[in-house]
Symmetry: C4
Subunit: 259 residues, 4 copies
């Protein structure tokens, strides 16, 4: 079979669509953010991506129906004809081998490039190793102009973080995107790294929606954040874990996916 199989559901003509990519990773921040954005904006399905670089797995839903693990692209036409359209990439997995990561990223970028994409945003979590009350959004970008632009939206570019760089799709989309001449930014919501973190996803989306000039309702995401808070609270009560108040850097040797 083809290593990466992209099935297009609808032929569309898009206006230099901006790609937003949020795949599973630290705190599930990127995936939460991309899925929520897709839902709130009511994007339309564009393509489904299967690959032998995903696990050989199907999900079974409550009705007993199977679905092969995948990534998927959906799109949104801009309200104004002069604006960029939008592409959102989400999915169940990142590629499960280094080579798979490269192949998947390159194939998806190639597909978006053919649709006219010149600009992309990857969404991710940044593990701080301690509970983060008010998650900041850290950034990394492909050009100084992008760095300056993001700072105006409150994105923090820290001298030391992320120290070891970005491992996984969120960084690779930017790195390989350069070979397609694309400019891009990675937006990383701070998170403990111990829980699924809707609050961090919200922080990321608050920046991103301003950057994209779209508006969404955050109430469902906030409700989910409060639910996770309650669970985390209970676990902390039982185990005494996670109450570290002093900031501590995560290990530089950490090899888990950041994004």
């Amino acid at each position: 079979m083809e290593d990466v199989l992209i099935r297009t559901h609808e032929t569309v003509s898009l206006k230099e669509p901006i790609l937003v990519a949020g795949l599973p990773g630290v705190g599930t921040v990127g995936k939460l953010a991309a899925d929520y954005l897709r839902e709130q904006l009511g994007t339309r399905p564009l393509a489904t991506i299967h690959s032998k670089f995903f696990p050989p797995q199907v999900y079974v839903n409550e009705e007993g129906l199977i679905r092969l693990v995948s990534n998927d692209l959906s799109y949104l036409k801009a309200k104004s004809a002069s604006d960029h359209d939008l592409l959102i990439l989400g999915g169940d997995y990142q590629g499960i081998s280094p080579e798979g990561q490269y192949e998947l990223t390159e194939r998806i970028l190639n597909y978006c490039n053919a649709l006219g994409t010149r600009e992309l945003y990857t969404l991710a979590g940044f593990a701080q190793g301690h509970v983060v009350e008010k998650p900041r959004v850290l950034g990394a970008a492909t050009s100084p102009a992008r760095v300056e632009a993001m700072k105006r939206f409150g994105v923090v570019f820290s001298r030391n973080d992320p120290g070891g760089g970005l491992i996984g799709a969120s960084g690779l989309f930017l790195g390989l995107g350069r070979t397609f001449g694309m400019e891009g930014v990675c937006l990383m919501g701070e998170t403990s790294g111990y829980f699924v973190d809707p609050r961090s996803a919200e922080a990321v989306l608050k920046v991103l929606t301003k950057v994209l000039g779209v508006q969404i309702d955050f109430s469902a995401l906030e409700a989910k954040a409060k639910e996770i808070d309650r669970i985390a609270q209970k676990i902390q009560e039982v185990t005494g874990e996670g109450r570290t108040s002093e900031p501590s850097n995560p290990s530089r040797e950490d090899v888990g996916y950041i994004g």
Copy 2:
């Protein structure tokens, strides 16, 4: 060499053959069922499948003759010209890497597709983590119509099982089968997961034979089940293991092959 090498032994014309696939997995349920069905129905060998995605291994039989590990397809002509013919897939191994799983499944589906297959059944075990006196047959399917049809044969579609989806060939055949336009069902016999389980295989086959409208003699399988019961009984006497009577869900994180 070719990644997957399918050698056809006989050129046959089949009438929209239904594929039944049972490969090694949890409790060896799928393989036991497919092998037993093949034997009872007296299917004829159709093709042998070698692949570099299998281990580099030969088996040596009691006469000292070697046989390279393989999967194999056999077929059965339906008694009535209006009925579907049958294809049974069995073998020594599933692909031993995720990529190998995808490649093997896709190649075998492609081969069956060329023979006219539109419908498939995968047989598997479902590990409950405790001794199951009367194994139910759980199901997953590609369409609501299939789910409803299977319920009429007593197949259980549980809201929670299998929670993490299906990992391995039994799910992948359904998932990739969809890309060939095939409809399918996975039949999973409940099993402890600790023993080879002919009783679970029998439960699966009792459903499957009704679905296919074929009749077989179950006595040899029942004899084997009793033999395993005796062995399991002895091990339980010695170790005190496996006597848990209350139902317990297997871990969702379990990454072993289900099918």
Copy 3:
């Protein structure tokens, strides 16, 4: 680069050459035997095999010269024009991944097939897990006729050994050799599995040379066997290990290369 790179040193025309393959494995028996046979017969280098399925490694000799790890084929013209010529395969490694094993074996067989090979012998060790005073030579073969022929040379075909089959090149050469229409035999010298075992290699070669109708001097191999005996003896004195006298079957689950 090509996955497997076979560089031919000399263009020769061979008369249905019999392939003898001895690569590193249990007790280094197969490699010891093939290397010794090559040396004693004074074979000529035919081809060197490099591959990305070997480790990325060079050896450095005492003069400081490097040599990239490889397999290699050498040949010997038969003394009588009516006899088969001989090909000997030796080398530093077997392929280090399952896929690499298949690719290497298939490529080498393909090469030998082009030279006219119809028959092959693979040499290996068979781990008994205890010291073997007088190693027998166990066999596995591709046809009943070969089994019978080997029995006449004293090769033992045991109902139970090797129980789990043969894992690695010695079995795979026979298994894939069948797809080229080649007939073959695996000769396995019993060995403890704890030491490099020249005595087991000698037992294998005593059979093989009779089968091939060639004569070699065994004194150097016997000297090496005595040296290993002395070392083993000393280790046993110190540790008390390896003195088990009762026969015990090696574990069926053993996944180490047999040959």
Copy 4:
């Protein structure tokens, strides 16, 4: 995507350029040496190498700008028209799988071959397992003439070191270089293997610069060596480690990269 992607920044005509390769490995000796040489000689960037055989990773610099992990080639025109030009290979990683090592090495050698390279030097560390006050430079080469030539520059060719050969890029470049008809030498600076070792890199560079007939200023490297000494000293004071004074051979079974 291509397995190995070499992007050329500048089209240059070079005079039989000598390749110097220093990638991360034991004590980071090879990389330290190559990077320092490049900096001191003021080489110009020639090509950037991306590959799916590197980790899926980007680095983020202090300004927040990302850079995809890579290897890179830079060049230096010789001062005299009759001299060889120079190519220096450095980078973030060696290939992270055996197959990746072969592919990357072969592709880079192929690229250099097209530029006229006939000769190469690989720089590496050699782990002694104990603190080395005055690191010697050990050698391995592709021909006796090279061995003799290197001895005149003080390179040590030891009967026993490196016992298990060279694993990784530094050896592979020589081994595969032979298939391009290239001659080469591996220069290995002795090092403990416990620290990044600029002193060992300096020893290697002192030999290499004489061989190449170039001159560089060593003061910055010496300053770095003293800094590491201080850190090592402190660690030794705390742990009592690393003070072994008697020479000890590193384990032959050591499978870590040497170069």
